[in-house]
Structure formats: C-alpha cells, structure tokens
C-alpha cells in the first residue's frame, strides 16, 4: 500500500510536468502575446519599443529558457508578475481561490446530497411515476447548459423580487449569503446532480438484483436498511468515480457561472487573463487546476480501497 502511494505520487509529478509543458507551449502557439495586443490597440507600432517591452517581459528569450525560468520560479514559490496588473501573480490568484473553492465545494455537496438520495429513490421505485419524473428532471439537468440555467435564475430573480443578487465579499444576512453562493452553486451543480442521480440509479438497479440483497431481506432487514446499508454501499463506487470526474469538469461550468453571476473567482479570472495573454496568470492557474484534478483522482482511488474491501492496492 505504502509503495503504491509513493508510486502514484511519482506518477502525479510526471503528469504535472507533462501538463506544464503542454500549457506552456500551447499558450505560445496561440497567435499574439500581450505586447502585440497592447501595440495593436495603439495603432502605431515602433519596432524598438515593442522589442524593448518584449525584452523587459522576457518574451524574447528562447522558449525553453522561458519555460525553465517559469518552472525555476515556481519551485521557489515565485509565480512571476501579472503582465496586466504588474502585481505578483500569487497575490492576484490567492485571494480568488477561496471564492471559487467555496462555490465548487457547495456545488459538489449539492450534487451529491441531491443526486445520490434521488438516484436511490428512483431505483427503488423503478417504473413508478416518481421514477419517470425524476428521470425527466435529471435528463433536463444534463441538457441545460449551466450558463443558460444561470441566466434563467437571474431573470426569475428580477421578475420575482425586482432585483438580482450582486456579489458582496461579506454578506450580511443568511439570505444574502444564500443568494450569493448557494444559488450559483446550484446552477453549476445541477448538471452534476443530474449525472450523479443517473449513475446512482443504474448502479443501484444492478446491485438490487444481487443475491446478497435477497439475503438481507431474508434476515428481516427493513427496506431502508436494505437500500442504504446493503445496496448503496455496494452501488456507490461508480458514483464516486463520476463525482471525482465532475469535480474536474466543474471548473468549466464555473467559468461561465462566475461570469453570469459576476463573481470574482479564479475561473472568471482565468478567462480574462487568457484574453490578455497574461502568461504568468494563465500558466499558474492551469497548473493549479491540474493539481486539483490529479489530487481528486488520487482521492477517488483511495476512497475505493476504503469502501470496498476487495480493492487493495498492492505491488
């Protein structure tokens, strides 16, 4: 087990190095850098000014040199300076992380706490009206893009309350906090909830046919105990996989949701930085996301072993 974890950590490191190269190269393949964008806006271009600015930002160096500078800095905790704000990238990124993390955690919590029980309910009452209703709702959840859902929520809010929630870092009341965090989290988590529900349902249907479910009934266990204690614990593995993958995909949904709800989080910041070719911000943010995804995957695999005694990671 210990050897397995060490090997996994080594693999994670290799993955992250690979991602750093890919994102670094991709960014520079995309036409134009911040200097081009600035000078294009100005209209008149003095080549020496441009060259000076590129030199100042280190963009004139060979690409491998630029990469090594970045990674070297990264290892020292130096993420470089934002081209746009000219502040340290770390200072720009750090305060935005809790905002996005809170949204993402709420969205995942929402999707698991809604998706899993409804999936169980749907499977247990397979073929009933409840099952069909839940399946239609989950299908709509999968079909509605989160930005559209977000817009609908904002429009509904305006027509119902005559106003819409505006981001405030220090909400004063519970309702305000709910409007600022929970509503966007639900908008982005609805899709995951729908997916979680579908996977839970199909996994439960499979498990409910197993012999040991009949054994549990033959012991005199109640339906609740059969469904949750015996069936769900066996059915949860694929659900965890999906939630793990969703945690990674969530960032895509968050970009749109943060934009729609005007939340100054990491996701929206990434898109803005990309527009300005603000390399230090984009590179480091993508690396941050990569770390989150890799760690999420690792956590899922460890959870497998914790839940299913048949899964043991050996050498």
């Amino acid at each position: 087990m210990f050897a397995y974890i060490v090997r996994r950590l080594a693999l994670m490191l290799v993955t992250l190095i690979g991602i750093s190269i890919i994102i670094f190269v991709l960014l520079r393949v995309v036409p134009g850098n911040i200097v081009d964008i600035l000078f294009d806006a100005a209209g008149f271009v003095d080549p020496t000014d441009k060259a000076n600015l590129e030199k100042e930002l280190g963009l004139n160096l060979p690409i491998y040199q630029q990469y090594l500078n970045w990674i070297g800095g990264l290892l020292h905790g130096d993420l470089g300076y934002s081209y746009v704000s000219e502040k340290p990238a770390l200072q720009e990124i750090l305060p935005r992380i809790p905002i996005t993390a809170r949204l993402a955690a709420l969205a995942l919590l929402f999707s698991a706490s809604i998706g899993i029980p409804l999936g169980v309910l749907s499977a247990v009452h397979q073929g009933s009206k409840l099952d069909y209703t839940l399946r239609v709702v989950s299908l709509s959840g999968l079909s509605l893009p989160s930005f559209w859902l977000g817009l609908l929520i904002l429009m509904a809010s305006v027509s119902l309350f005559g106003s819409m929630p505006i981001y405030n870092p220090n909400p004063k009341t519970w309702t305000e906090a709910f409007a600022i965090y929970a509503v966007p989290a639900m908008a982005v988590g609805f899709r995951s909830a729908a997916l979680t529900m579908r996977i839970t349902r199909s996994s439960m249907l499979e498990i409910l046919r197993q012999d040991y479910i009949r054994t549990a009934r033959a012991k005199g266990a109640s339906e609740a105990s059969v469904n949750y204690r015996h069936a769900l614990k066996n059915a949860i593995l694929p659900v965890i996989t999906v939630i793990g993958i969703e945690a990674a995909f969530l960032i895509g949904g968050l970009i749109v949701t943060e934009t729609v709800f005007n939340i100054p989080g990491v996701a929206r910041f990434l898109v803005e930085a990309l527009r300005w070719r603000d390399y230090p911000i984009v590179q480091n943010l993508v690396m941050l996301i990569a770390v989150v995804v890799v760690v999420a995957n690792f956590t899922v695999d460890m959870l497998y072993a914790a839940i299913d005694p048949r899964i043991r990671y050996g050498d």
């Binding site: 012999d211 009949r214 012991k219 266990a221 614990k233 048949r310």
Partner: protein, 337 residues
Amino acid sequence: MNEARKDDTILDVKNLQTVFFTNSGLFRAVDDVSFNVRRGETLAIVGESGCGKSVTALSVMRLVPDPPGRVVGGSVTLEGTDLLSLDEAEMRKIRGNRMSMIFQEPMTSLNPVMRIGDQITEVLRLHQEMTSKEAWAKAVEMLRLVRIPEPDRRAQEYPHQLSGGMRQRAMIAMALACRPALLIADEPTTALDVTIQAQILALIVDLQKTLGTGLILITHDLGVVAQTAQRVIVMYAGKKVEEATVEELFANPKHPYTRGLMASMPAVISFGAKTDARLNEIPGMVPSLTNLPPGCAFAPRCSLAIDRCRAEYPPLQEVDGDHFAACWRATELVGAP
C-alpha cells in the same frame, strides 16, 4: 395424519398458489401445493430446475419478487401464525428470527462490503435485544458452532477472504443465529465441491438435530435426499406429484416422474444397477409453464401415459398409508424402478 404429529407441526402450507405475471402471460409457478414440517424434521423438496421448488420456498418466506410474482392463494401457517395475513413489518420480525433461509450461491449471497461478523451481528440485533458487543460475541460463537476455524479472526474478515465452503458455513451461522423454528435450505450444496458438499450437509443435519429446527431441504439430488430427509415431496411443473417418507419413496415410487428421476441417478449399488450400465434419462423437457397441456403435465414425457393422462389432470391421492401420488396409474407401479 394423527394428532400427536399435528401438534408437532411448525409449518403448515395449504393449497399454496404463486403466480407470475409476465409478458408471455400468467404462469402458475406454484400450483395448489400443500405440505407440513414438524419440529426437528427434514422435508425434502425434489424436482428439476424450474419446477417451482425455489418459488415455493420464497413464497413461504414471502420473498417472491412482486412484481412480477404474487402469492394468490392458500395459507402458510408458522407456529400458529398465518403468515399471509401479516403486514410487511410483522413479517420482517419473523424472517431471520422464527424462520430463515440459506441459498444456493454462497459466493454471492453474502454482502461483499460487510465483515462476516457484522453480517451475523445484524440479524441478532434485528431480532434480539443485544448490545453490539454481546451480538459480536454471539456471532463469533455461531461461527465456532458451524466449525469455522479461528472464528475470532474470521469474523473480522470479508466474504472474499473465505472459501465457498466457509461462506456457506457463515450463511448457516447467520441463518441459525436466532434459533429459528424453521430453516429453509435452497440447494445449499449445489455450488460447492463434492467433498465440501458432504461436510456442509452433515453440518446442517447435525445442527438441526442439536437445535430441533424444522428443515426444508430443496434439492435436485436424490442422493442428498436419501442421506438427510425423513419425508420427501416431488414437484413437477409447479405441482406436487408425490409425497412419501424417504424409505417408502425409494422402495416404492408411485409417480413415473419420480421413477424417472431415480432411474437417471448414476449407479448406486443399493439399487442393484450395473456399474457399466448406460445412464437413463427422462426424455423431453419440462413443459413451458405458460403453455401447460390440459392433462398431466408429465404425460408428454411419460412412457406409461394413456389417453386419460392427456385429457384429465390426476388428483393427488393416497396410494398407500401416508404415501400420496398424482398419477392415474400409480397403483399399477410397484417396487423400485
């Protein structure tokens, strides 16, 4: 049936009818089946696959999956309680407590993510007032009773860490933990190695004697029946076609189907068969339950069938003292096949 025997009856099943509603129509999986089990007695239910043995057992436990199945008639009385009139909550208090069941597949009948000890503890805590510590101690004691070596350690293990025979022992421990009056064993040894089969059977019979449990043993193996049961019922296409004591049935089978089953057993010296003789078989297949012939369901495969068999279903009649058979020609059949 004399009075003394009646008093001892723990399970009395009368005219049980279980039907399944399927896309290809309604079929009677169990049709008008009656039997009883006395304290400490073993009743074997014999028949080939699909004849309704398991559904009979599940009907008694009221575990027939509904839909598509449903018990539509008859009565099931366990220790004086009419089970078919109980609601689900009352029924749960009886399952695993007054009667319990072990299944054919020990490999899949235990929950793979629960420790063996927890699975036994669960049934104890469902039916008896016990702290979790007491229940665990009792679970270990049960594992010792079913002769699992190192029960303390095994209780901590998960099903995948046990062999098939061990798992079936654990199932037996679980089924007997609350000292039920009735144990139903649905082909408990079919999935096991031959050497293990004998051990498990011996264990079941031994514990049954010690605990005085009534046992319904479902099997298609007449060898198992001969070793363990006192009485036998033979089922064919959802109906009971013969009932007798073991000695009587083997000495004097009255239904051609029973005779066919015996003739198709591999050579057993006591039957006087030659060891190099070709194995007999019953020609044809069990008829589809959705499309039964009007007369005797066995008639199409029966070498003794007459016109009456094809037209009219033979009622179950007492052909000898305590020996019942549903065959028009039962009285003509004498001796072992």
